[in-house]
Structure formats: C-alpha cells, structure tokens
C-alpha cells in the first residue's frame, strides 16, 4: 500500500511540473494574443493564422524559386577560370549582379525560407502550448513534424546549390555524417553524391532534391490538412502585405552575396552560419558524429510521439453517437464537423431517407458542433445530452 502511494508521488512530480509549465505557457500566449486583439482585433491577429503564415511563405518560395530556376545552371565545372565559365556559381552571380531585380528575388527566396522556419516553430509552439496536437489531432502533429524535417533539409540543399566554398564545406560535412551511419551510410552517400565523388551529377541531384522535395511538401501538406474541414490556408491580405514587406526590408538591409567559387582541389573549412537551416552543421562540427545522429534521431522521435507522451492531462474523448431512428440525412452535422469525423452513408433499404450520418469515432473531438447543427435531436454527446441541457435551462428559468 505504502509503496504504491510513494511510486505515484515519485512519478508524478515531473508530470506536475510539465502541466504547470504548459498552463503558464498557455496563459502567456493568451495574454500576448489579448494584447494584439486590443490593437488590431481578432480579424487581423497573425497569431490566429499561425498555420497559414508558413503556408503563405511556401507560395512566395515557389514563385521566387521558379524565377531563380529559370536562370540556374546545376554544374560544378571550374576547370577553366575563363570568362566564358558557365556553372552554378556563375549562374547565381549572373542572377545576382546582372539580371534586373535578380538580387532581390534571390534575397526574397533565401529570407522567405528563413521566415518559414521561424513561423513553423512558432506554429508548433503555439499548438503545443494551447494543447491542440493530441488525441484526434495526432495526424496533424505527426505530418507537421515530417513537414518540418523536409523543410529543413530542402533549405540545406538550397545552400548547396550556390556552389561556393560554403556549399563545398557543407557537402563534405554531410558526406562525413552519412559515413558515420552504420549499414545505411554507404547507400545514403551514393544517393546524396549521385555517385562516389562530387561531380556535375551531384549538383543536378541537389537541384532535383531541392525542387522535388518542395513539391512533395504539397502531398504531406494534404495529409496535414486532410483531417480538418475548411482549413485556414491564407492569412488576410493585409497580413500578407506585411509578411512580404518584412522580407523586402530584410533583403534591403542584408543583401546576399556568394562566397568564393568552390574548387574541388581546395579544403575550405570556414563559412557564414545561417542559424535557421545550418544549425545541425554547427552541431556536427562540435561533437562526435555518432552523438550527433543520436541526438537528431532522438529529437525527431520524441517530437513525433509527443501526442502520446503526454497523457491524462484531459479526460479521454467520448465520441458523439448518432440516434439512427431520428436521423434524416440532412448532412448538417457532416458539414459542420471541424474534424471530418462524420460521414454520410447510404440509408438502409426501406428507410424514408437517402442518407444517414455516422461518426468516425477516432476523429471525434466531442466538441458538440454536430449537436448544435442538428434540428432533429439525432446526434448526441453521451456524457452531455442536449435534452438534458435544455431541461436544465428550462428549470433554471422556471425556478423563479
């Protein structure tokens, strides 16, 4: 008896701490949002569009990336340092120095990528602090982790494409990192380099990964949105103006230049850090690679399983139930459900109605919007019947 009580106290001190942390973080988030609402009202509060903000930057990246792609040449040739040298580095220089507005488009592309990472983290943090990532929302969270990992890797390949000395250092560091992996290390290296050494094939592979993975994002985004009805994909135009404006200001304040052209015969070892995309290279440089991989994999796994690590914070969801006898198949509950948790199925033969509603219990959040939508009392939350509530309301009024 005593030992079980002790175990409970021991194991729950950290749960307590975690819950207190989340409660505090939630309160702080609310306070900030209340402040913003007081200034510009909830209609324009960017924190209420925290998912749409990185989505918007993705469109900016696609557009600016398309423009850059039109002039980018994915080769590494620098055997001849002649004026007619045409390779990745010189094509990027051409875009930056010669093409009208090229430098700005390059800047927009780079800084939108950085901004997207910032806003993805803010999005993830808000969703975590306000407890909107667990139970029926697990698909959104897990696909979000996958999206983040993809975005981080896509950003890194962007840095390889410039093919300056930084790109060479990063490429070599990546190859060493893959080397440190048992079993899958060699195939990964061969895939990454598109061969056994750095050649033109390598750079065109980087371009393929950069563009291909970016389009693959759209598929994972579909998974990210599929369990939500009417997902909020775009912030209001005024917010979009500000989002683009910030990028333009940063482009003006911090113009982008390339380092020296990469030379395979040289061994550069220093580069400018971009803390949004290249932080893992800093880690690689400051710890044994085995430890680096352990940390990365552990972080990814913990992030992925976070929805199941945190339990018992809120009561389990008791899903809604359709009262088949009363359902007329009007589809209002199906339309209103925010989580795609109601499906209209053909009514059995002999029924007066064509369709009947049915609840997909794994997706149900027990919010009751379906109950609010139903004019026929044909769907209920078992632990809170609307007839009970209506009776309670009546008795409160009639008690006077």
């Amino acid at each position: 008896m005593t030992s079980s009580v002790k175990n409970e106290t021991n194991s729950s001190w950290w749960k307590d701490l975690y819950n207190r942390f989340i409660a505090g973080a939630n309160k702080a988030t609310l306070a900030i949002e209340d402040g913003i609402n007081a200034l510009i009202t909830s209609k324009y509060n960017p924190l209420y569009y925290h998912g749409a903000l990185p989505q918007f930057y993705l469109w900016v990246l696609f557009l600016s990336g398309l423009l850059l792609f039109a002039y980018y040449i994915p080769t590494i040739d620098n055997a001849y340092f002649s004026q007619k040298l045409i390779n990745a580095w010189t094509s990027v220089q051409y875009i930056t120095d010669t093409l009208p507005f090229g430098a700005v488009i390059r800047g927009i592309h780079r800084y939108s990528g950085d901004a997207m990472v910032i806003f993805i983290f803010l999005h993830a943090i808000r969703v975590w602090f306000t407890d909107r990532y667990r139970q029926y929302r697990w698909v959104q969270w897990v696909s979000g982790v996958v999206l983040l990992l993809m975005v981080l890797f896509i950003g890194q390949t962007g840095y390889y494409l410039v093919w300056d000395e930084r790109s060479l250092v990063l490429t070599r560091m990546t190859v060493s990192a893959f080397d440190a992996l048992p079993l899958i290390g060699e195939p990964l290296k061969a895939w990454f380099l598109n061969g056994s050494t750095i050649t033109n094939l390598t750079l065109s592979n980087f371009l393929f990964i950069h563009i291909g993975l970016s389009f693959a994002l759209l598929f994972v985004l579909w998974l990210h949105y599929v369990r939500m009805t009417r997902p909020v994909l775009t912030p209001p135009p005024a917010v979009n103006f500000i989002l683009v404006g910030i990028i333009l200001l940063v482009v003006y304040l911090a113009p982008i230049t390339s380092g020296r052209m990469a030379n395979l015969n040289s061994q550069p070892n220093a580069y400018d850090m971009d803390w949004f995309f290249l932080w893992n290279y800093w880690l690689m440089a400051h710890m044994p690679l085995a430890l680096f991989w352990l940390l990365m994999i552990a972080a990814a796994v913990i992030a992925t399983v976070l929805p199941w690590l945190v339990k018992n914070v809120s009561p389990p969801v008791i899903p809604a139930e359709v009262v088949i006898d009363k359902c007329t198949g009007c589809s209002l509950c199906y339309r209103d459900c925010p989580y795609q948790a109601i499906e209209m199925v053909p009514a059995p033969a002999g029924s007066r109605f064509k369709l009947l509603a049915t609840v997909k219990t794994a997706r149900c959040s027990a919010c009751g919007l379906c109950v609010g939508a139903c004019a026929f009392d044909a769907i209920d939350l078992p632990q809170l019947l609307d007839t009970t509530v209506t009776a309670q309301i009546k008795s409160l009024v009639e008690a006077k």
Binding site: K43, A103, L248, V251, P255
Partner: protein
C-alpha cells in the same frame, strides 16, 4: 466622411502608399534620375509635364541624406533594385496598416442581433 483621427491616419497612409508607389518606385527603377523610357517621355511631353517631372526626379537625387541611406552597404550595380525593395516595403506596410484600420471590426467581441420588424 472624415469622422476622427483614425480616418485622418488612413488618408495619410493612403497618400504615403501612392507617393511611394508612383514616385519612389519608378525613381529607383530609373536609376535615381529622370531618365524616362522614350515612350513615357513622349507621353509626358505631349501632356506638357515632362520637364517638371524630370526636374523633380533629378532633384530627389540631390537629397544627400536620402541617397546616403539608400547607398549604405549596397553594391552600386543593383542599388536601384535594393532601393525598389525598400520602397516597396514602405508602400506595402502603409497599405497594410490602412487596410487594417479600415477593416478592423471594433465589435469583433460582441454580436448583437438585428431586431426584425
């Protein structure tokens, strides 16, 4: 129409957006001078404003503080592009603030139903 300080602010922001868009954006694209393309020069001469506008545009370049601000840390080759980006930021931000001021629903926290008659 103009009911208070908010409306005056909206007008100022609208004017700022227009001034930046119609004057500073083309000015930076033209290399901070009045070197209009032939077709535009022709139209302006026809309207009789060519000399006036050119002088104003060239005059802007004489404002040393403004030019120093624009030139800081930027390669001379595409200075006009970076300046364009800066002015576009100003125009978009002014427009966005004006839109928010116009569109913000001061009663977003309360809904009162229209009494039908």
């Amino acid at each position: 129409m103009i009911k208070g300080p908010k409306d005056i602010l909206i007008l100022i922001l609208a004017a700022l957006t227009l001034i930046v868009s119609l004057i500073f954006l083309p000015w930076s694209e033209l290399g901070f001078s009045g070197n209009f393309p032939g077709w535009l020069s022709g139209i302006m001469q026809h309207l009789g404003v060519a000399g006036f506008v050119e002088a104003k545009f060239n005059g802007l370049a004489q404002h040393h503080q403004l030019m120093e601000l624009i030139k800081s840390d930027h390669a001379p080759d595409n200075l006009n592009d970076y300046a364009y980006a800066l002015f576009l930021f100003l125009a978009m931000t002014a427009a966005a603030i004006a839109i928010v001021l116009i569109g913000k629903e001061d009663n977003s926290e309360k809904t009162v139903l229209q009494a039908k008659k």
